[in-house]
């Protein structure tokens, strides 16, 4: 009797498949389970990154795909690093980073410290404080422009009400000196809760017994705060700074909607500048080099920082 290949397959498959799956070693299963994730990450993250690095040595332009692509070596990198405008952008980014981190850590830690006093209903109020950071930065940024509008904006009204300024001529996002602060305020509003949560975790990880011992030694509350609370919470504070630093270095959505980089170039952070080069001027090669420089900067700073963090943790 002859069986068609189909029948053979049908009669054999279920059993042998089952056997094969049952017989799979743990190692094989591990690979089957991990492979799709690694594959997708390679395809959507690493492959484009390598492509970016390759493009950064060329003068390729996406909007002129038929032009000859020339290998220009390090010329893009040289141009970026010698461009004063790029350095201005870097400066604006640094200004933004330093102030947002400082404000968020100070306010966030203070809030966490207060919430840790376990007053009635602190859970509910914590949840309310956390709302802003869960929202879409672009949508929120867009709405903050409304709050900042001269004359009609609520923020403007409150400020001019207390300072007695002229509501029609006072504009947070139109003023060269105030615009950076407009984004710092909005970012602080949005992300202070994040720092607060991490600090709260840090404070809750400190065992009560340590304070009890300090109390027996008659250490003042102030002294307890500086010699116990701060050092014990420090790794968590540093972790918060790391996360906020990375996030704010690549900050895009909030600022684009809030000021669009203006007025002039006062709030043009690096990622906004990069977007203009890549998707408005279409200088693909040049912007790829720019992207690589930013990426190396983040990675370099982050890894140095993580080393420092680990040292603090070991203490």
């Amino acid at each position: 009797m002859t069986l068609s290949p189909m029948d053979t397959a049908a009669s054999k498959t279920p059993e042998s498949m089952a056997k094969r799956i049952r017989g799979l070693s743990d190692r094989t299963i591990a690979w089957i389970f991990v492979a799709p994730t690694i594959f997708l990450l390679l395809a959507v993250n690493i492959f484009p990154l390598i492509w970016t690095i390759r493009l950064s040595f060329t003068n390729f332009r996406v909007n002129r795909p038929n032009n000859d692509v020339e290998w220009v070596g390090l010329r893009n990198y040289k141009r970026i690093l010698s461009d004063p405008d790029v350095w201005n952008t870097m400066q604006a980014t640094a200004h933004f980073l330093i102030w947002t981190i400082a404000l968020q850590v100070l306010i966030g830690f203070f809030l966490a410290f207060l919430i840790n006093k376990k007053f009635k209903g602190n859970d509910m109020w914590t949840t309310i404080i956390v709302f802003p950071m869960m929202l879409s930065p672009a949508v929120v940024g867009n709405f903050w422009t409304f709050l900042y509008q001269p004359q009609i904006g609520l923020f403007n009204y409150v400020v001019t009400f207390f300072t007695g300024g002229d509501p029609a001529s006072f504009s947070m996002i139109g003023d060269v000196h105030l615009a950076p602060w407009a984004i710092i305020i909005a970012d602080t509003w949005m992300w202070t809760p994040f720092v607060m949560l991490i600090c709260l975790a840090g404070l809750r990880s400190i065992p009560d017994s340590i304070y009890e011992a300090a109390e027996c030694d008659r250490a003042s509350k102030w002294r307890q705060f500086w010699t116990l609370t701060i050092p014990m919470a420090l790794p968590f504070l540093m972790l918060a700074v790391l996360f906020r630093g990375i996030e704010n270095f690549k900050m895009f959505d909030l600022v684009v909607q809030l000021t669009g980089g203006g007025p002039g170039n006062t709030t043009t952070l690096t990622s906004i500048d990069l977007k203009r080069e890549a998707f408005e001027k279409w200088r693909t090669g040049y912007s790829s080099a720019y992207a690589v420089i930013l990426f190396v900067t983040v990675f370099g700073l982050a890894s140095i920082y993580v080393k420092a963090l680990n040292k603090v943790k070991e203490r």
Binding site: I21, L24, D26, I29, A30, W31, V34, P36, T37, L40, L41, V44, N45, F47, W51, T52, L111, L114, K117, K118, N122, W125, T127, I128, I129, V130, P132, M133, S136, P137, A138, V140, N142, F143, W144, F146, L147, Q151, I152, L154, Y157, P167, W189, L197, I198, A201, L239, I246, K250, F252, V256, Q257, S271, L274, S287, A291, V292, L294, V298, F299
Partner: protein, 312 residues
């Protein structure tokens, strides 16, 4: 009642409570202002000084969901009385509804891409997390760090090649393309979080199942998955919120068919400048689900936003 020296005094609690509640109220103001503006008429929305008490109207919501054209008084007369309540609202401004706006479409795209990428992310993430948690994977620590590091990349830095790659594959401006992209972006979060959750399930449960004659696969989906259900659910909500809020990739890589709501809401423009009530209405509809999720998530919040690096 036990007495502890570390327990704050009543006065301290009071003081702390008042400060925190004060901060929370200030935090709430912009949010409440968004919601309130959605129910204002255009004149109320730009009144000076800003009005707190106003007559609520659904005009913003009607403007959000419809496109309108200006009609002359005699045209309006000829058209007869308005048939529906929303038609009535627009006629008061001398306009007639010409059709639906694109907000519904964009919102639907957000739903499709958000849920699609979350589902895919959970499938891949759970599998990888299980493997990392239970098996000896070669180079485990390096792989885990590699997965985490993909999150450090600024979206703009990889947007150009992704744009080129998607164009070659025909994935530009498609739902599938965005789903794959957001899945990749969220995988780091889901693998790290889920690994933490699965680590906490005692390995003895599976061993018992294996002795009972279950295969590894059966042990995985009959024993581990039900145990990890809460962890998976909260991870899924985090991924969903992220995909929901994402803006940079959406604005750079989509232009029409697959565009989500975040790039669309800021572009809503009325007859004279920005139609703030409509923008606020769009924002409110978009923000409310996230606020509900935040309330549901409050216990897992910290783990989710820090990749489980901090345990609460």
């Amino acid at each position: 009642m036990s007495f502890s020296v570390t327990e704050p005094t009543k006065g301290t609690k009071w003081f702390a409570g008042i400060l925190v509640i004060g901060y929370a109220c200030i935090t709430l103001v912009p949010l409440l202002w968004i919601i309130a503006t959605g129910f204002k008429s255009p004149t109320d929305s730009i009144a000076y000084p800003p009005v707190v008490v106003f007559e609520p109207t659904l005009e913003g919501y009607v403007n959000l969901f419809t496109d309108r054209t200006r009609a002359t008084p005699d045209m309006l007369e000829a058209a007869g009385p308005a048939e529906t309540w929303y038609d009535k609202i627009t006629r008061e401004r001398g306009t007639v509804i010409s059709g639906p706006s694109r907000y519904g479409e964009r919102f639907l795209n957000s739903v499709i891409i958000g849920f699609g990428s979350t589902a895919l992310c959970m499938v891949l993430g759970t599998m990888a997390a299980y493997a990392f948690s239970r098996f000896k994977v070669p180079l485990k620590d390096d792989l885990l760090f590699f997965i985490l590091s993909t999150r450090m990349m600024p979206p703009i830095a990889v947007a150009i090649p992704i744009f080129l790659m998607f164009r070659n594959l025909g994935l530009n401006d498609t739902h599938l393309g965005m789903i794959l992209l957001y899945t990749a972006v969220n995988l780091s979060l889901s693998v790290w979080l889920l690994k933490g959750f699965i680590d906490e399930i005692p390995i003895e449960y599976e061993e018992a199942a294996l002795i009972d004659g279950y295969t590894r696969f059966q042990a995985f989906y009959k024993v581990v998955l039900p145990q990890a259900a809460t962890g998976i659910a909260s991870t899924a909500i985090f991924c969903l919120i992220f995909a929901w809020n994402e803006y940079a990739f959406a604005v750079l890589l989509t232009s029409g068919t697959a565009q989500t709501a975040p790039p669309f809401i800021p572009t809503i423009i009325g007859t004279s400048g920005k139609d703030w009530p409509a923008v606020a209405a769009g924002a409110t509809i978009f923000l409310v689900p996230v606020m509900v999720f935040t309330i549901l998530l409050r216990k897992h919040l910290l783990r989710g936003i820090t990749f489980g690096a901090v345990r609460k």
